[in-house]
């Protein structure tokens, strides 16, 4: 095992409700590193992040997941969160009656009345959303910001971001980029930890805001390409994913 890696995924295969989705995934993330995953709809990107996070529906049929050198393949969801993994959901559920404020406060592990919740909300331009039921009637862009707000409160060492910029307008994308930058800021101001990110993107807009040196292309549940994310993006834009599938480099 390589001690340098924050996350190690080795020969991972995953099935959901009895259907094999991911096959033989190998992926390594170092502390402080940000990586980007591209891939067509339905290729298994969300499945990969949900599996890393530990949702019980995603069953590991082969391989291991290591986080900070510890085998977490069989660790429950909440334990993984507490170890330092956080997820920006592509489609988070509405939880009626539970206020955004309640979740942010829970993420902060703080007692009621703290200023930190308000401060973070202000940063995410979500002050008026604190007393709304979480995700209830939120627009697409508001959901992304609310997810980032929760993650900022959680301050995970590894942030799994599932399409943080989809459906976000051009003005808000700068704010989203800024929030992600805060989240992945090399050194967390309080905990002195190094933060890493694994980001799913279709547009690559996020590359303008984060410093990512590794990118992957996922197709049919496999990683078929690894390289500089900017190069990958250029290829996809020019020639589509078909080129990745037939790429001789894979």
């Amino acid at each position: 095992m390589d001690k340098k890696n924050l996350l190690e995924i080795k020969d991972l295969s995953v099935s959901v409700d009895g259907r094999h989705i991911l096959h033989d995934i190998n992926l390594f993330v170092q502390p402080g590193e940000t990586q980007v995953i591209f891939g067509p709809n339905g290729s298994g990107k969300t499945t990969l992040l949900m599996t890393i996070m530990g949702f019980p529906r995603y069953q590991v049929t082969k391989g291991r997941i290591l986080f900070k050198g510890k085998d977490i393949t069989d660790l429950p969801l909440d334990k993984r969160a507490n170890l330092g993994i956080g997820l920006l959901f592509q489609r988070p559920p509405v939880v009626r009656g539970v206020k955004t404020r309640d979740i942010v406060a829970a993420c902060l592990k703080e007692t009621e009345g703290s200023k930190a919740t308000e401060q973070l909300a202000e940063k995410a331009n979500l002050t008026e959303f604190l007393d709304r039921d979480i995700n209830y009637g939120f627009s697409g862009g508001e959901i992304k910001r609310s997810e980032l707000l929760q993650l900022l409160a959680q301050a995970p060492e590894l942030a799994l971001l599932d399409e943080p910029e989809s459906g976000v307008d051009l003005e808000n994308i700068a704010l989203i980029g800024q929030l992600i930058n805060d989240l992945l800021g090399k050194i967390h101001p309080i905990y002195m930890r190094t933060h890493s990110g694994l980001i799913i993107s279709h547009t690559g807009h996020i590359l303008d805001y984060v410093n990512a040196r590794t990118g992957y292309v996922m197709c049919n549940g496999r990683i078929i390409c690894e390289g500089d994310p900017h190069d990958i993006l250029t290829t996809i834009k020019e020639k589509g994913y078909q080129e990745c599938v037939s790429c001789p480099m894979k």
């Binding site: 429950p76 909440d78 969160a81 997820l87 009626r96 009656g97 539970v98 309640d102 979740i103």
Partner: protein, 410 residues
């Protein structure tokens, strides 16, 4: 609730007078002791036993800081034992005393609720029942809530209560009523008739906390008449076991722009049977109703009803009924009903019954909450009905009462 248990066979030979109630188990009143109301006395609540005080406090009654109350009424079994008021323009007394004092009061007696509604109202009518009379004179407003406690102390007794609440024109009344028992086990029956009269431009908030026992049968019979621009806000909470509870309080909006809102929160532990709803008749232009109920079963059976009838143009009513089934047994039956009798009424409802969605629990777990913490957070949210229009102090107290009982849930 399954049909075969609705009418227990042992009670078929009931000899009770009056007709059987339309809803709920038929309670055999002959198995319990009936009393004629005792004369009101006046004791200092401080002299009550610690145990009694503790019980009453569990139902939201306050003893230590009476500066937070504008008045207090306590009835033990069938005898009013304390009434006091600390504010001009507000009256709190036993109904028997009020009847002696005010000749006109008889015109309010059995006007909102019919004495022959069923055998329970008949029982209250036949036993010269006492209860509270709370009234705000025109334009008077309670600074603090008035608290009333109906306390069932004696085993196998039927407690009869008849309350009348009058908010005169432009007045404001905030009332907390706590109903509870001395013992956690003894059988008993509580029959409570409450008639509310809300005059033009008056506002009444009524918060009721029920804390009974697995052996208590409870049959409240409540009706409210709301005049022009009047507002009635009712909050009802039951989170402790009860043998059988059936209540279907109603409100009639008879004046233009009269507004009513019923919130109820019920939690049914194993063995508890609750049949609870709210009924509103929108009989005047611009009147509005909102009925919100939250039901949780941890093994008991709940029927959550709601009924809004629109009989006038430009009325608006909404009914929201949500139920949560926790654990493997227990049932919730939501019965929302709407009736419009002409064009121009705007009535709607939503009802949902189910378990906590696993997806929601996992969402919170992904934020680092344990499964139990996530469940508790969701249940707390479920019970967190936004009680609009309630003064902050009352709001805080309702919240506290709910949170205290929530601890028993997990």
């Amino acid at each position: 609730m399954s049909d075969e248990v609705n009418v227990p066979p042992a009670e078929e030979a009931s000899t009770d007078t009056g007709k059987q109630a339309a809803l709920g188990d038929d309670l055999d009143l002959s198995l319990y002791e009936s009393q004629v109301a005792e004369k009101p006395s006046h004791i200092d609540p401080a002299t009550l036993s610690d145990k009694d005080k503790r019980q009453m406090m569990s139902a939201g009654i306050m003893f230590d800081d009476l500066s937070q109350r504008s008045g207090t009424f306590i009835q033990m079994d069938n005898a009013p034992i304390h009434s006091s008021v600390k504010q001009d323009g507000i009256e709190v007394m036993a109904i028997s005393q009020a009847l002696e004092k005010y000749d006109w009061l008889k015109d309010y007696f059995w006007q909102a609720v019919a004495a022959d509604t069923d055998k329970y109202t008949a029982h209250v009518d036949c036993h010269q029942s006492d209860g509270y009379f709370i009234r705000a004179l025109p334009g008077s407003k309670t600074l603090y809530p008035i608290q009333a406690c109906l306390y069932l102390a004696k085993s196998r007794l039927i407690q009869d209560v008849h309350n009348i609440i009058i908010a005169e024109e432009g007045s404001e009344l905030h009332i907390i009523t706590g109903c509870t028992t001395a013992s956690g086990r003894e059988p008993g029956i509580h029959l409570g008739v409450s008639e509310f009269y809300i005059k033009k431009g008056a506002k009444v908030t009524f918060s009721m906390i029920h804390s009974w026992t697995p052996e208590t049968g409870v049959r409240p019979r409540t009706a409210t008449v709301i005049e022009e621009d009047g507002l009635f806000l009712s909050n009802y909470v039951i989170m402790k076991p009860v043998y059988s509870l059936q209540a279907y309080p109603s409100a009639r909006c008879i004046g233009e722009n009269a507004t009513v809102r019923f919130n109820s929160i019920m939690v049914a532990p194993p063995g508890s049977r609750m049949d609870l709803g709210s009924k509103v008749f929108l009989n005047a232009k611009g009147s509005k109703a909102e009925i919100v109920s939250r039901a949780i079963t941890t093994g008991g059976n709940i029927i959550a009803r709601g009924y809004i009838e629109g009989n006038c143009p430009d009325v608006k009513g909404h009914l929201e009924c949500r139920g949560l089934i926790m654990g493997d047994s227990g049932t919730i039956q939501a019965i929302p009903e709407l009736k419009g009798t002409l064009a121009g009424v705007d009535l709607s409802h939503e009802a949902a019954v189910g378990k906590i969605a696993e997806e929601e629990i996992e969402y919170l777990m992904a934020r680092g909450l344990s499964r139990d913490e996530a469940t508790a957070t969701i249940v707390r949210g479920f019970l967190n009905v936004d009680i609009q229009g309630l003064p902050p102090l009352l709001h805080a107290e309702m919240k506290k009462a709910i949170e205290t009982s929530e601890q028993d849930l997990f």
